[in-house]
Point group: C2
Chain length 326, copies 2
């Protein structure tokens, strides 16, 4: 089952409805659930109860793709981004002159909390952010949490994950690089946009797409202006999503409405190539570029980069307390 | 004006009310606002409108401190922690064998997003978290955002900050150290508890406590088991809170209900001493220790560390895709 958050093109810009998606890529329709339906609550329902509501929605009128704007399926109550693809870590570390993934990477899945208010829809335009000459994408898969969890085992975490979607964690690499010198964040390097969508595919739909260890195994690819520039499989994650939820929940809350993302897959960003080769090839993203990401059974997101029309306040340097040179 | 979120000791554990605090430390009472009042909305009101509601609350019955449990004044929609105290950065960097704060620190205020669901109340017990032998505190001051903001100047940011409170960003230094090897986060090193409280002091109350550059200038101190172990002044921040809000809002949303924290002040954590001296003196926190933090005009928070009774799931190492040694 695919659940979308959308508004009609004729709706007010802040309108938001939840619907069932029927049909294939390009020729789908979206059928509204009853007014006031909540996407996370639908995900948390038992299979049969959700099917019943979906049947009722499917029986009602649907809207054609051309008539709707897909919104982020979730406005997250928190958003964690992990770092689970070994080959990506390896490439990024080599870019920093290190031999490869450090031992600490293998011990436990590390993550950061992301800007939860930066999420945008599957086909939204992305304003080119300030201060960067190295705009990049990150191809990721994201799990949508539908129940509160604390100290859950990976087995218990299965019931906590409502579904999955495609994610593009847009990244300003030069901004990010400066921030990471302070060993925190990154923050401004990633807080301007994160695409999630096009909709949530419920976890039950994907049960048959797991490998022998229970890892989701879906093909992932990213193209810039219709040219494929990276691809991988989700089964190359170092941990399953259930293991990630379990780890995040250790002596801590993971709450309904959170998004947990895989981190970048191998070749799922330009910076990884830059790191491996020492050259800016392919070049950083520019205004006019269209970045499209497809994950098998989850669908496609596609965003065009446009010039920003925002007036951004100046960055202010620190007021020094320790005199320079001391 | 001081605004608290609280429940009566006789209330259900998930009850929550908003009240006006009257009186001095130790002998205060809390007077409920009308049912359904929202603390962030109260902060966002114009001065006169808030005063009127406060007068009405003050005229009503109050509850004695002994009868209430103070809750976190905000359950944040997002939480950013900055790194604004130069002397703290200097100490931490020296602990890692570096010469001091790097140039990048001076250029722009860096921050990380924190676990928003880890907030706890001013006098809550803190369960000793798993996997650490280096439990530490961080003395910080936090601003409560009461209006949505994007691309605001520092001047405009004044109206966005509703008030301030004391914050203890509890930190498991050994867990955090491993995570920071991956240059992300930290995540599990800080996601088990963050104390904020005891209440929010509205920004208007603090206008007379600014230095010549407009920086809030409040004395800050932290004690362990009644012995003062660190103190500083908030005016030693490298940026004012208005500058932090402005920076965070650059091409990004800062939303009502967010918390923006200063980062650790100088001598506001044990790790800074450990870094400067190379010895674990004072020793890491233990079960039974009481950490108390006071900021002038904001009040005192005080938390006792207790043994955890949680059964925590095991951490699982990565499933390797790149064979070892390649």
């Amino acid at each position: 089952m695919r659940l979308a958050r959308y508004r009609l093109r004729s709706d007010a810009p802040d309108a938001s409805s939840v619907g069932l998606v029927i049909g294939g890529n390009g020729s789908w329709t979206v059928h509204p659930f009853a007014d006031g339906s909540d996407l996370i609550s639908l995900l948390a329902l038992e299979f049969e109860a959700r099917e019943e509501l979906a049947d009722a929605a499917a029986a009602g009128e649907g809207y054609a793709a051309a008539d709707v704007v897909l919104l982020p399926p979730v406005y997250p109550v928190a958003m964690r981004d992990f770092l689970t693809f070994e080959a990506h870590v390896d490439g990024m570390e080599k870019g920093h002159g290190n031999p490869g993934a450090p031992d600490e990477w293998y011990d436990a899945p590390v993550f950061l909390f992301m800007a939860p208010h930066a999420v945008c829809g599957a086909f939204d335009e992305i304003a080119y952010p300030p201060d960067t000459e190295r705009l990049d994408f990150e191809l990721e898969i994201a799990a949508i949490v539908c129940k509160d969890a604390r100290n859950v085992t990976p087995e218990e975490a299965k019931g906590v994950i409502g579904g999955y979607c495609v994610m593009n964690d847009w990244s300003a690499r030069d901004v990010q690089g400066k921030e990471m010198k302070l060993k925190l964040g990154p923050s401004k390097g990633k807080d301007f946009a994160t695409t999630i969508g096009p909709w949530v595919v419920t976890a039950d739909e994907l049960e048959s797409h797991r490998d022998a260890d229970g890892f989701l195994d879906l093909g992932m690819s990213v193209s810039v202006n219709d040219e494929v520039v990276g691809s991988d499989r989700s089964a190359n994650m170092g941990w399953s999503f259930e293991q990630l939820v379990s780890h995040a929940s250790r002596a801590s809350w993971v709450k309904a409405g959170e998004v947990l993302a895989s981190g970048t897959c191998a070749s799922g960003s330009l910076a990884e190539s830059w790191g491996r080769t020492g050259r800016l090839t392919p070049p950083p993203l520019q205004v006019g570029d269209v970045v499209s990401m497809t994950i098998e059974h989850l669908g496609t997101i596609s965003n065009r980069i446009v010039a920003s029309n925002e007036v951004v306040p100046q960055t202010v340097p620190a007021r020094r307390r320790v005199p320079e040179g001391v």
